[in-house]
């Protein structure tokens, strides 16, 4: 607990530092448009990161999220191109996400195959189905209301996706930290056998989480389609690593049981601000990626080294 609190403290300091740095170094940083863009550019990732937080806390992982996003986006593209009403397509795509999540859930929670294995195979498989649907096409020509929702502000300067993000952030944060279900997630993540022996329905919690992940990923896929106005077979591909990075840097233990939603939120803010700041100051893509890689490692390494140092100093006294 102590460590966790101080951890979020570090994240907060880091965020304030990047934020201040950006304000000083990049004159365009504080404009409303840039602040909205900063979130919009990664909006699908950060939405899915919120659910991924629950899954990693539960000592599982979902590598298939980006492929489900792609599948849902491509299914939407396919249906619209086939002349289906877009509203119906949206509902069906969300259903596709539910089904994809359910497939993962059954294999993980009922058949007991490790989630890393299942979702790795599904990372390939779901992406494959996306390609089956759109082949080598780019599918667009979505109705205006749909692209409008993805690209234009809905309330004040805020687009729909950003509002959804905030709602999910608060909702899932409360779910995780204040409800019985959230407690179950954490206990199972700490020790699933203990949870089972305490009468918790482990399989049901895991099933719920993976179905939730499938659903939210499908939703994110639709947001992606709406934001970009068209889809291809590679829509959202490779997003899973960015998403996992966001969660892990937020202090969520990859072994489950440890981590908080505020931590992940701060980590998201740091990563987005860093990327945006570096981009505005003309630091190119691969350096950004490298910096975030280093930050990810350092975020765990430095507290470890510090505690070693403290222990050594305590002994010397």
């Amino acid at each position: 607990m102590q460590r966790l609190k101080s951890w979020e403290g570090i994240l907060l300091a880091l965020f304030l530092m990047t934020f201040a740095g950006n304000v000083v170094l990049a004159p365009e940083f504080l404009t409303v448009q840039n602040q909205v863009n900063l979130f919009q550019l990664s909006i699908e990732k950060i939405i899915v990161a919120l659910v991924m937080t629950l899954i990693i806390l539960n000592a599982e992982i979902d590598l298939s999220v980006a492929s489900v996003m792609g599948l849902s986006a491509c299914a939407f593209g396919y249906m619209v191109t086939q002349g289906w009403p877009a509203g119906g397509a949206v509902v069906i795509c969300l259903g596709v996400g539910l089904v994809a999540g359910l497939i993962n859930a059954v294999l993980i929670a009922r058949a007991g195959i490790p989630s890393l294995v299942v979702t790795l195979a599904m990372l390939i498989g779901f992406r494959g189905f996306a390609r089956v649907l759109v082949k080598d096409q780019s599918m667009g020509n979505f109705p205006d209301w749909f692209t409008h929702l993805g690209q234009d502000p809905l309330v004040g300067p805020l687009p729909l996706a950003l509002i959804l993000f905030v709602v999910l952030l608060v909702g899932l944060g409360v779910l995780l930290h204040r409800t019985g279900f959230g407690r179950q997630i954490v206990v199972i993540g700490t020790n699933a056998e203990v949870a089972r022996f305490s009468g918790l329905n482990v399989a049901r919690v895991k099933t719920t989480l993976f179905v939730m992940s499938g659903f939210v990923s499908a939703l994110a896929g639709l947001l992606y389609a709406a934001r970009l106005g068209s889809v291809r077979g590679d829509a959202a591909s490779g997003f899973e690593l960015d998403i996992i990075t966001m969660v892990l840097m937020g202090g969520v233990s990859i072994f489950g049981g440890k981590g908080t939603m505020p931590g992940v939120f701060l980590s998201i803010l740091i990563i987005l601000n860093l990327r945006n700041g570096m981009a505005l100051t003309n630091i190119t893509g691969h350096i950004q990626t490298g910096v975030i890689g280093i930050l990810l490692i350092a975020s765990v390494l430095i507290p470890n080294l510090a505690s070693d140092l403290r222990a050594r100093r305590a002994k010397a006294v």
């Binding site: 056998e193 949870a195 022996f197 918790l200």
Partner: protein, 498 residues
């Protein structure tokens, strides 16, 4: 000259001072017992000797020379090895390899033939039947303990430390272990022996050291101490360690009735009636499958034959949820793996099995009520911790046990199954646990206790069910249950009693 000596050793974990200025000298060829309450610092002391922890201050000397023990390997090369309180096996390796994996004397290449032969010999020496080619994954706690003992024996040690080696053993195996300890002593090995069972200590030890709150209280030859004196040293005051047996009501209507219950290939033919307010103890040798009966009742590994009746109505129990819905609680014997979420705070563990009760509107947990409830148990069970927000993993073994008890008490069960409820619990706390069990019974809870500790069985039970090799060897009324008869039934020397 002392083979191992600690001088002014101190060790703190964050705010907890586990050891304060500790001095201790172990002579070669002695069996040196260490006793103390839960959380007194015994395991910490051991872990400093074996290099798991580093002392904050003080010095370790081996045969007079100051040494730094920075890791378990270094301890091993200094001739110090330990059997830890919590068994540590490698589930994916087979038994033989578990024993020899860290044995440096064995050379760079695996000579499998020799390893299997040597492992079989060691296991035999311990008087246990265990296939050395079997993977360690399915071993019972006692079997794991056996593997650990064999591992320590395989090393050529000068000092062998046993941290509560008998906590999960029954009388039979205990006797064998004590024999081994004496044999080692005869070879000039110093044995450090930690146990909460004072009878064992009086049986085997040459000297006994008492520690309390991380401090050294006394070291005396065994002849100069009495059990009551030891307890007084440990606790700092005189305590009554005998549970008061309140009058029970063993002949009311049966709350729980088993008819010919069995699970294919595991156990069979278990049948008894259990009334509200009655305490039924399961006795038997290690591996008699008592735990499996409990697991069947609790829905973890459901029964495949026979019937379970609750309040006279047949009940199917296939999951723990179903068992709990019928008012059954099961306090597991393996608190590390099955009982407690070690990295979560005390309060979260206590509320775990009864979370529903704490949910307010919108399914939100009432934090205040949760903490208050945990605080109640902390006071009531004397859990030694400043605060219920402390991680359970940071408590001593005995205090962890109490947290686990609290978790199940809070579910307000009608049928409560205790599996080795006082494993690793100190004498004082043990009396408390016994009192709690009797108290529950007197409040009308039907209690099942699985215990390998015969004196405990005899102190608690209204009736004793003895199991042998997955079958019911007999049920004894407490009046007819004597140590000899129970052991006789358990070992198969006495004919079955109806």
């Amino acid at each position: 000259m002392a083979v191992l000596e600690l001088q002014n050793v101190s060790k703190s974990f964050a705010a907890t001072a586990a050891l304060k200025d500790m001095n201790l000298a172990i002579e070669p060829g002695e069996i040196h017992a260490i006793v103390g309450e839960n959380g007194a610092g015994k395991s910490t002391l051991i872990k400093i000797m074996t290099g798991v922890h580093q002392p904050d201050a003080g010095q370790i000397r081996v045969e007079g020379a100051a040494v730094a023990v920075r890791s378990t390997q270094e301890a091993q090369s200094l001739g110090i090895a330990a059997i830890y309180q919590e068994p540590m096996v490698f589930p994916d390796l087979d038994v033989a390899e578990n024993i020899f994996i860290s044995n440096r004397a064995e050379g760079a290449f695996m000579n499998w033939k020799r390893i299997y032969a040597a492992a079989a010999r060691l296991i035999e020496q311990l008087g246990v039947t265990l296939d050395v080619r079997r993977a360690a994954s399915g071993l019972t706690l006692a079997e794991q303990q056996t593997v650990e003992i064999a591992r320590a024996l395989s090393l050529n040690v000068k000092v062998l430390i046993m941290d509560e080696p008998t906590a999960s053993l029954s009388a039979h195996e205990v006797a064998r272990l004590l024999k081994i300890a004496r044999a080692l002593k005869a070879k000039g090995v110093a044995v450090i022996y930690i146990s909460h069972r004072l009878d064992e200590i009086f049986e085997v030890a040459d000297r006994v050291t008492v520690i309390r709150d991380g401090q050294h209280i006394s070291t005396k030859p065994i002849a100069e101490v009495t059990p009551d004196g030891l307890v007084k040293d440990m606790v700092g005051r005189a305590v009554d360690t005998h549970a008061v047996k309140t009058a029970a009501n063993p002949h009311g209507p049966a709350v729980l009735r088993l008819e010919n219950l069995g699970r294919a290939g595991v156990f069979s033919g278990i049948g008894f009636d259990l009334s509200a307010g009655e305490v039924l103890c399961f006795a038997g040798l290690v591996g008699a499958r008592r735990t499996d009966v409990a697991l069947a009742l609790f829905g973890i590994a459901p029964a495949t034959e026979g019937r379970i009746l609750i309040d006279g109505a047949e009940a199917t129990i296939r999951t723990p949820q179903e068992a709990m819905a019928r008012g059954i609680a099961y306090v597991s014997e393996d608190r590390r793996k099955l009982g407690l979420a070690m990295t979560l705070p005390i309060y979260a563990n206590i509320s775990l099995a009864s979370l529903k009760k704490l949910l307010g509107g919108l399914g939100l947990i009432d934090r205040g009520a949760e903490i208050a409830m945990a605080e109640t148990y902390r006071t009531q069970l004397a859990i030694k911790s400043p605060d219920v927000r402390v991680e359970v993993g940071k408590l001593s073994g005995g205090n962890q046990q109490k947290v686990m008890l609290a978790k199940w008490l809070e579910t307000k069960p009608r049928i409560l199954i205790f599996d080795e409820p006082t494993r690793g619990v100190d004498v004082g706390a043990k009396a408390e646990v016994h009192n709690i069990i009797r108290q529950l019974a007197s409040e009308g809870v039907a209690v099942l206790v699985i215990s390998s500790d015969l004196p405990e069985v005899l102190a608690l039970a209204d009736r004793v069910l003895v199991m042998r090799e997955g079958a019911q060897a007999g049920i004894l009324d407490i009046a007819e249950a004597t140590q000899e008869r129970v052991i006789g039934l358990a070992a198969g020397r006495e004919a079955r009693v109806a």
